[in-house]
Amino acid sequence: MIIGLKIYPTIYAVFLAMLDRKMNNFVGLDNFGFMLSRPSFQLVVFQSCLFAVSAVIMKAFVGFILAHLMHNIRGPSQRVWRGLLLVPWVIPLSLSTLTWWWLFDPSYSAFNWTLNWFGLETIPFLGTVWNARISVIAVNVWFGAPFFMIMYLAALKSVSEQLYEAAAIDGATAWQKLIYITLPMMRNIILITVLYSLIVTFADFDIVRILTNGGPQDGTHLFATYAFSVGIQSGNIPRGAAVSLFMFPVLATLAFFVLRDVLNRNKEVSS
C-alpha cells in the first residue's frame, strides 16, 4: 500500500506535468521546455545545486570535527555533551527557522546588535541575494551537522582501538592516523551519510520557505519551494509538478548509489 502511495503519484505527476494550465489539454513536454527557458528557473537549478553541495560538505566537515572532539571525551559526560549538541536537530525545523528569521530580522536583528556592539557594520542578512543564500546554507548546516556527528561518532567507536595502538607503536602522527586508519575505516559510513544528506538537502523545503520565501529576487528558491509557489500558490498545478519532477533524475541517481552501498554492506555483514 505504501509503495503504491508513492509509485502512483509519481506516474500521475508525469501525466500532470504534461497538461496545460486548466488541466484539460495534453501539451506533452511543453511545461518542461518552458521552465528550462525561464531565467528564474535557471536560477533555481543553480541555487539548488549550490545549496545542496555546499551545505552537505560543511555539515559533513563540522560533523566530523564534532565526532572527533566527542570521541576524545570518554565517560558519562559524553552523553550530556551529545544531548546539548543534538538540540538543533531535535527542534522541529520550521520552528527553529522562525527563530533564525527573528535573529536575522532586518529591523531589530540580534546579530546586528552584537556586530554593532563590537563596532562593526550592520549586515543585511536576508537583504541581498548572496547574503540570503549564505544565511540559508548556514541554517541548514546548523540543523544537519548533529546528525552527521552521531553517525560518525558511532562509526568512530566501532574502529578497533588496536589499530591505533599498532600505529602509535610504529610512530604514526595524529595526522597519519587520521588519513590511514580513521578515514578508510569510515569510508562507507561517510559515503552513505553524504549521499543520503544530499537527497534530503536537495529536496529541502522548510528553511527557504520560512526564511526568505525564495526572495530576494527569486535568488534563494529551491526546487521544492519554487514548485510550491508555482503549483499551489499560483495555482498552476501542471507546471508545479513539472518543477518538482526536475528533481527526479538527480534524486534517482543519488538513491541508486545509496542503495548500492547499503546492499553491499549488508552482504559484507552477513557473509
Binding site: T99, K157, A255
Partner: protein, 299 residues
Amino acid sequence: MSSATAAAGSIPQRKPKMGSLEKQRLWGLRGSFAALSVFVVIFLVPPFYMIMTSLKSSAEISAQKGNPWIVQNPTMDNFIHLATDPSFQRYFINSVWVTALVVIISMTIAILAAFSLSRMGFKGAQVLSTGVFLTYLVPPSLLFIPLFQIVGSMGLINSTWVLVLLFPTLAVPFCTWIMIGYFNSIPKELDEAALIDGASYPQILIKIFIPVALPGIIAATIFAFTVAWGGFLYPLAYLYSADQAVLTVGIVRELIRGDVFAWGMIMAACVMAAAPPIIVYTFLMDYYVAGLTAGATKG
C-alpha cells in the same frame, strides 16, 4: 648484551617523554572541552534566543532598546495568553491527535511488515525490503503536487485526516527498515523453538519479537513521532483553514499577520511546540541514537 645496555640507557631518557605524552593527552582533553563548548554555544544560540524572546513583553520588543539577548522584565504573559487562546489550543490538539494516530498506524504497519519480511521467508522478500528502503529515499517535496490532486479528489483536502493518511508514507519505510534490522538480529532458533512448542506466528510476534526488539520499537516510534510532529510541507500545502491547522503551520501562518510581528508570542508558541520533542528525546535519546546508528556500527 649491547642491546640490553642500550635499552637500559634509553629508559631514563624516555621517562620525561612519557610524562609529556600524558600531559599532551590532558591538553588534548582540555582542548576538546574548549572546542566543544564553543560549538555548544553556537548551536544553542537560536534556542536560547527563542526562550529569551518568549519571556519579553511586546512593549519591550518594540522599544528596540538595550541588549536584545537578555530579557529585562521577564513575563509569562505570552505563555498565558497562548494557553488560553482557543485557536492555539486547537493547533495543539490537532498536532497531538495527528501525531498519536500516525504513530499507531505507522508502527502497526511497520512491525507487521518487518516481521513478515524478516521471518516468513517468501520469495522476493529481499527485493521487497529493498523497495521499502527505496521509498524512504523519496522526499516529500517530490510528490506533494500530484498528491494535492489525489487527496483533493478523495475529498480530504483541508482535513487533518490527510495528514493521518500521508505521514505514515514518510514514516513507515524507515520504521520498517529499523525493525527489519532488529528482527534479523533475533536468532532463528528462538522462533523455531516456539514453533515446535506449537506457537502460531501472531503468538511468536507478540510474545517473543516485540519484547526482544523493544529498543528498536522505541527508536522507530520516536522517528514516526518526529515526522508527524515536525512535518511542515504537507500541512502547509493541504490544510488552509485555521481550525484544521497543526502547530507548525498554525504558528507560521496564523501568528504572522500582515506587517505586525508579535515576536514574543511567536517565540512562546515555538517554545511550547518544541517542548514535547525535546522532552521525548531527553529520556529516549539513547534508544533513538542506537537505532539510527545501528547500520554505522555494523561494518
